[in-house]
Symmetry: C2
Subunit: 201 residues, 2 copies
């Protein structure tokens, strides 16, 4: 039984979310706010980077749906999903002649690093650059600005995993399954601005 | 072998830092910046709260050294050291007729919650209220403002623990030891303001 990510079509049952659809949803949110140059931080264009590649696919599909042009310079890979990688990628994006007005980060730690670099450079989040993350970790509920993030339904993931384990324990011998849990975009200050409720949610 | 905290004078070797002295140092820093009403978040006035009690002791001693009066209303307990506890404690402090101009939080998660409440209330950190934490976790290196924090020397703690384990493995049978590792106050934007270097450190 595999929870979350890494290998698809492996020999195990696998509970995950539809990363392509989830990422399309993030881009729809940013495009809906009028952003025109949306960057992506976290691509992993190599064998073990399937999850990241799904998010890049959703990012590109989301741009197409929103009738926004894709610009390869706006896709910055990150081999590790931690804060310093997000900071480095954001510095690289700010060096572009035409920097982004929004950034989709493939997890919340990358987003924390990216936001730090933006604010330290004197830019405003989200007025100058909107930032969205992925995972919906607690840190982003308390940061300033609070972080917009794609929230996988962790309760359902756990419940589906336990359910499938029971099926196996009861003898079900069909092929490994990929089960998809629901998700939700939690829109907060890092894309919506400070007009949202002031207390942590 | 015990690392960090909870029980002192137990039947184990114990590597820790001098929590009283460390906390005095935090108060000296805040008082040195001219703060007059320094609050403390995280007291645990019950048997399992020894570490917190040492920090409260250091807080009170630090006030005395700085010739600042102690005010029991400025000491807010927290049974768990997480973000929401820090947020709740800060809300309570803001309801005082004479709220604090600085807050010493007994860990960095409490500080993150406290800062969120201050900023959401429209107060500035540190101009209106300076905030210091304890532990020096990475989150505070990237938050805005970056977090001033008491940093135990984690490398030395690990090295001292391994050294002492080897002593025991080689047969040393003397009484359990309490070994104290060094620490350092990492002063950042949450007490110093934004004049500090803009890049994460």
């Amino acid at each position: 039984m595999l929870l979350g990510e890494r290998v698809n079509e492996g020999p195990f049952d696998h509970v995950t979310i539809d990363n392509v659809a989830a990422s399309r949803g993030v881009i729809a949110h940013l495009a809906g706010l009028g952003r025109q140059r949306i960057a992506a931080i976290g691509d992993q264009p190599y064998e073990t980077g399937e999850t990241a590649q799904f998010r890049t696919q959703g990012y590109l599909e989301g741009l197409e749906i929103a009738c926004l042009p894709a610009d390869r310079r706006l896709i910055v890979p990150a081999s590790r999903f931690h804060r310093e990688a997000g900071a480095q990628a954001m510095r690289q994006l700010l060096e572009l002649r035409n920097p982004p007005d929004a950034v989709f980060c493939y997890n919340d730690l990358l987003a924390a690093g990216a936001i730090r670099v933006l604010l330290a450079a004197g830019l405003r989040v989200p007025e100058d650059v909107a930032v969205a993350g992925f995972d919906d970790i607690e840190e982003g509920h308390y940061s300033t600005p609070t972080l917009t993030s794609l929230a996988p339904d962790k309760r359902r993931i756990a419940a589906m995993a336990v359910e499938q384990l029971f099926r196996r324990l009861e003898g079900a011998a069909d092929d490994p399954r990929v089960l998809q849990a629901p998700f939700e975009l939690q829109a907060r200050e890092s894309t919506l601005g400070r007009a949202t409720p002031a207390t942590p949610s």
